[in-house]
Symmetry: D2
Subunit: 239 residues, 4 copies
């Protein structure tokens, strides 16, 4: 099973009672517990830890990193972001959650602003599965309904996904590409929209199943011993 | 300006008074008139004509073919379909409209069933633009609203589009990938959802503008004089 | 482990002594033995068997189908091709080998002629890995060298691959996209160039490893219980 | 016609007599003259100018930016890179030449290291056209041969291109994806390999034709008035 690190900026939960009620130990703890229950070896890391908890040693031992951030994207140190981005291109999977669409690792790997429109209206969301054969939706039905959530809207400022796994419908009139797969170097990247801090979305079984599936999908394969690296080479033997 | 042929099975309009009221001379005539007004050289062709109006001569003189069909997909002769498909791979643009998602040329070029769910519920549709820099949406706003239309729903059984230009929201709860771009050989293919026969959708200025843009986008470029063709070749000169 | 069926037209090996020397029991037997050794449950099927050995029952029990054909593409019955194509869109993996670029299942699923240029010149080929993190190249080095083989050349008349895993260099001056991944419906498709009938290429360990990797990659995942099917639907509960 | 700016670090030509002989006024001047002759309105900009010659005013008046750099990528100011990247996502085309594969704007927009292997061996290169219907190869034959050039090799550390237009064969045994198209936001990006400073490659008519074609392809279209921008929105009128 992949070794998983769940990263969270962990601010809302400590500063806002309403959020603390939903996630008393933080969003990271809730997600890590869910993945642990499903058999993954998990650890957590947060913004306030030294090097945000993402030391070389931690990342070297991480197959898949989950990332939740919202109000403190700018406080994430660029040297840590460099390390995360480099590890992804070397093979580490990255799962980017909800408001982390605007996080440094995601925007750096995608090369675009990844901006969107949003509204806090307690609207119903229906995530339709637009790629029913994808491993990330193993075991799901045709859609996931979330009764009350924040609304995101298009245009979502991302490059065309390699696979579009979920597309959301919102009661208030919007649509959104809610599940987007990319590859960057040897690493797989999955953006998954659900999960605002004031709703108990990460406690849901179907959402946890998607995260579990996504971790398995994003785990690195061995790959080939083939490297670029801007190195000067001799001609291949016997060309 | 590209030379355009608008093909229509042209059955509903002759058999159903309600449809005839909306499109007295057929959907093809309405679309052709709109494109003609916008400066394109247009002709039409229908199912009942010899070779469905799509002779070698007509296709050789067609830069972009628009295709509308619904209840008579199976009546389209395979030899004509072969000809259309071959011309697309040679460079002719193809714009596939609404219920022609299940037409022979489209399913043949995409390689999948292109099936979907549907409902006739007079629901409101909002086509969100998910690729605002694309030439097909030149001059539009952020969405197109159609007050009453047939509903289509995911999963839409298509390969991942090269570009997803429109995603529809429907009042009744569905989403749909309503504007999808592909390339097949030298030809460009655009699927565009709006346009059920009982609604006056092709009379709308915004829809006509999309069709006009799509024709310009799908028109072939000259390309290179480079060909496969399963031919035996000598080594390139001086390799 | 996936259940694998290896299909071969099985003509060259019975009619040409030079080929029979390389593959005495047929290319299919050599490939099946190699996959069997690597732990897959394998069976074979050939053109001359009833329904070409690809009955409903066989396909229903096949997770991944490998396809080798060359001089008898046209003799493959369309009803069997329909069945294969349908099974792929439902999830069965398909691995298309060498001259099967022009086979009916591959061209039907891709929607283009898949033509190319070729030369029988006993030239050296080097397959460079252009996607080193892909599961299909697990355990390989930076390239595979084949000392003598048939040459294929661009342009290869295929849609842009989802992933381009191998690109070949040929002594005589050509390049070729030799490892191409696609998805069609729920099924994964991999085209892999090596393997002309007069060279012992399928006896090589590295080539067998690619086939083993490709089978694992192409095996279906469970996916979601979400279906199109051109069916009329009620609005989703509580939209 | 698009308004073009050709950017060059402009160091080799001033410091190395051999380079100065090939490009006495700099690579930028040679390219700008070629594009000017083909009808484009051109200007140039270089590293040593204030803001590297890429002021807000210059970029606001640039439809397509060409970028050549090699030994001074790190000297390009990040604030200028930010401006270039932002303009690309807003629609400006970017054509990245040869050793600028490692430039800041390109790696920032692609999100990967874009590294490769290389060798200075005066080898013959043949650029095969792998996408013969693409507008970038209008008017070309089946390949472009460069008698002596620097060699680049795979793996090229880039995301899968949207379209792979050229693939190079090198005498010494390598292949390389030499013409790669991307879209980032509203902007089109084209990487084109040929053009080492010590070879007169930009003086060639066929190479100039590719640059001319690429400029036309990369020029922005009007697009839609649809914007994300992480803004809070009201529900759309009548949803």
């Amino acid at each position: 099973m992949p070794s998983v690190t769940v990263w969270n900026e962990y601010i809302h939960e400590r500063e806002d009672d309403a959020v603390a009620e939903v996630y008393p130990d933080g969003i990271h703890a809730a997600i890590a517990a869910a993945l642990d229950e499903r058999g993954h070896e998990t650890r957590t890391a947060t913004l306030e830890e030294p090097e945000h908890g993402l030391t070389e040693a931690v990342l070297d031992d991480t197959d898949v990193l989950l990332w939740w951030g919202h109000i403190a994207h700018d406080e994430v140190d660029d040297s840590v972001v460099d390390r995360v981005v480099e590890r992804v291109t070397e093979g580490m999977g990255l799962i980017v959650l909800h408001s982390a669409h605007a996080s440094k690792p995601f925007t750096r790997l995608l090369g675009t602003p990844c901006d969107l429109t949003w509204r806090e209206g307690d609207e119903r969301e229906r995530l339709w599965i637009t790629d029913p054969g994808h491993a990330i939706v193993d075991g799901l039905g045709e859609s996931i309904v979330i009764e009350e959530t924040e609304t995101y809207g298009e245009p979502f400022g991302i490059p065309e996904p390699d696979s579009l796994v979920f597309t959301s419908w919102f009661e208030g009139g919007e649509v959104f590409r809610s599940g987007c797969c990319y590859r960057r170097g040897r690493g797989k990247v999955f953006y998954f929209r659900p999960g605002h801090e004031t709703y108990p979305i990460y406690h849901r079984d179907d959402i946890q199943q998607v995260l579990d599936n996504a971790v398995r999908w994003a785990a690195p394969s061995e790959g080939a011993d083939a490297h670029g690296g801007n190195r000067n080479v001799d001609p291949p033997e016997s060309t």
